[in-house]
């Protein structure tokens, strides 16, 4: 795995997809490829309450990525220092093997360049000390990014608060 952790506090997500627009804006992508995507399931009634799940799907940046192993040209790579999986466009021949190989559909097709494109945690931004585009603009700050140790224990804290009987 990469040393980073992108945590979605789904309780706060409103499925607005600002993350998707920010991602495409940062990468200057055409209509089509979605390097990250909110998948909405529902709403459905659970008892009297309508509930929906808004699941954020970027690339997981695997330890042993299917896409890297499958790529015939070496375009798909894993950055040694932090484990970010990215595609070097100049080496990509557009064969789509990475798209076939990835179990989660992370690599996308860029119809403008005829090459694969995927989430690289905005490594250009990370290298400037910034957060990924999606995390930076997330409307409700439900996306968190850092090394795994840096992510705050949001769920534990919320649970503890709900359980505390101090009031």
């Amino acid at each position: 795995m990469s040393k980073y952790y992108l945590f979605q506090d789904s309780k706060k997500c409103i499925g607005c997809r600002s993350c998707e627009v920010a991602c495409k804006t940062n990468k200057g992508l055409p209509v089509g490829p979605k390097l990250c995507q909110i998948i909405t399931i529902g709403p459905r009634f659970i008892g009297n309450l309508p509930r929906a799940s808004y699941t954020f799907m970027p690339c997981f940046h695997c330890e042993d990525p299917w896409c890297v192993a499958a790529c015939p040209t070496g375009a798909m790579q894993r950055r040694p220092e932090d484990g970010i999986v990215f595609v070097d466009e100049s080496l990509c021949v557009g064969c789509k093997t990475c798209m076939t190989a990835c179990p989660w559909g992370a690599p996308q097709w860029n119809p403008e360049t005829g090459k694969a494109v995927k989430c690289d945690y905005c490594k250009d931004r990370l290298d400037q000390g910034l957060k990924p585009a999606c995390v930076t603009v997330c409307t409700t700050h439900c996306l968190h990014f850092g090394t795994a140790e840096e992510i705050p224990p949001i769920r534990r804290e919320r649970y503890a608060k709900a359980m505390a009987a101090l009031e």
Binding site: V21, G32, H141
Partner: protein, 694 residues
Amino acid sequence: MQKEVYSICFGCSVRCPIRVVVEDDRVKWLEGNPHVAGMEGSLCPRGMAGIALLYDHERVQSPMIRTGPRGSGKWKKASWDEALNFVADRLRKIINEYGGHSVVLGERTQLSTHVSKTFLRAIGSPNHFTHDAICKGSVNTAGRSLFGYTDAQMNFDYANTKHIVMYGRNLFEAIEVKAVNNLMKALDNGAKLTYIDPRVTVTATKASRYLMIRPGTDLALNYALMHVIIKERLYDLDFIDRWAQGFSELKSFVQQYTPEWAEKETGIPAHEIISLARELGQDKPSVIFHFGYRGAHHTNEIYMRRSILMLNALMGSIEAKGGLFIKKGPGEVGGKPARKLTEQDLPEVKQVRFDKVGTNDFPLPDPNHGVGQILPYAILEEDPYPIKALFAYRFDPLMSIPDTNQTKKALDKLDLIVSIEINYSDIAWYSDVILPESMFLERMDSIQQANGLKPQMFLRHQAVTPRYDTRPGPIILKQIAERLGLEKYFPYNTMEDLVRWQLEGTGFYLEDFKEKGFVAYTDKQIFWDRKDGIKFKTPSGKIEFVSSLLENAGFKSFPAYESMPSPPEGEFRLTVGRCAAHTHVSTQNNPYLNELVPENHLWINTKEAEKLGIKTGDLVEVSSEVGSGFIKAYVTDLIHPEAVFMLHGFGHEAAFATRSFNKGLNDSVLIKNITDRIGGSPAFHDTFVKVKRA
């Protein structure tokens, strides 16, 4: 070289503060202003798609003059001089022949609205209107009738609330970034969210209580809530004693409206209404009954919005932490607001307005905004006088005023239609001349006077030079005025000049906005003392349950509730709304936003759809008394059987906007143009439609 520019978004009318990163005159990045609490980088998709709009080649790229019939799409490119001369020549003729009052300008309220108003006054016309009445005129009037403040002069302390009640106020899809984050914070701290809507929205999926109300009966629910609150003495006794006028009249009025009665009208079980009232009683005064953003549903809209405000009053939530507050202006701390061009010595205009607002015919709507949906009637009936020219300033009468077919007939009577627009909107497409405005990243704008708990001023800085041959609206209007010999009312040559003129005497300077995009008059939140310090602006200085505003104009404060009719067999009540990806009628052609939501669908209840043999994805024909059209169906349990729903803002007719052209259905084609004659809002949800498979 990279630089950062602090500015103001205009992805929608919320106008969130933003930070723009610019390199070599290109926008590289956009985010919420990190210096503003509640923003901290956040931006909604409509704002984030601003860069896609900036570089969109489907914007209006230069002035255009029509060469074929209206709406035919035959245009010639024009220089600014040519287009401005064209407009000025025709305008001069019209003013000479029919008077300045034959010219109407409609716009979406914006930072430079004071410039448009000045333009009209200068040419001798009273006929400025904003989109506001069409969205929420009755909320404005309701606020003035009870507190002496318009809805725009009030806001909510979301972050500290213990319980918020929203009536179709779909905050998590409409998205005001700061409000969303403050409410999320409250919810995280255990606040309750009661959401009432005939349709399940994203907001409903975050609610702690969801009530699928029979469409149009929210007023009945509120009268029953008041009934329980008063009967069980759940209200804030001290607050009502001190501040309310007409409580005993309210008390005897709601006596008849029991929860059992309301159950029959609304479909919400009586015990739910009682338990909601009791919970709210416990959480008071940190409760919010949200008076809504759009408040334009039924012809009794004013009473619905008044009932919401009265519930806030009963809970004592006004000026309470976690309640409703009145926005504080710079005067509260001895500061001065930015000047407006309308403060100049402008010519008196004596004619009545085209919509007759301010006369006995239509006494109560806010003349600052007018009532725009009256325009087609005024033109067609030449009542009170003939209208000859329309300026549509980023306002689209064809999609925003109900009954598009009627509006088209009215527009056909005009001698001149000028659009000041960024996109090929339907009204731009139907105009004689399009004067393209620079989009929000390309122009400086007038000062934003941001009143609130802490009065501030924000500035929209220009981030980059215009990509195409476009100009800021206040420059366009000044350049028309110059050609009419009226330049003296426009004391500026550039937007910077105008802003400097506005700031004179405030103690702040243009340069002060550079570092963070805003200046603050104080760093402390101002709440008025709930015992003695609330400055209600009603004639009595109190909350007027019995309203002098209404009664003096001959209207009742407490008219008996009239049952909301169910649609006849085989028909449905048409309801409309919006989603997170689009702003009204203006973003459907944005490449990224179009990708998110390219067209609208007709939501219809599963059982009703079964009877009609309609399945999700089927093309259906929807028809009303005034129009019909085709749209794909979405069959779902998530909507009340009496209602169907569609997103507003689709079905565009402007062919140059290729992504939105002919996608989905324009709700305004179906909706009848009827109005709450007291409050001023149109009634968007008072049209029944038939649905059948196409």
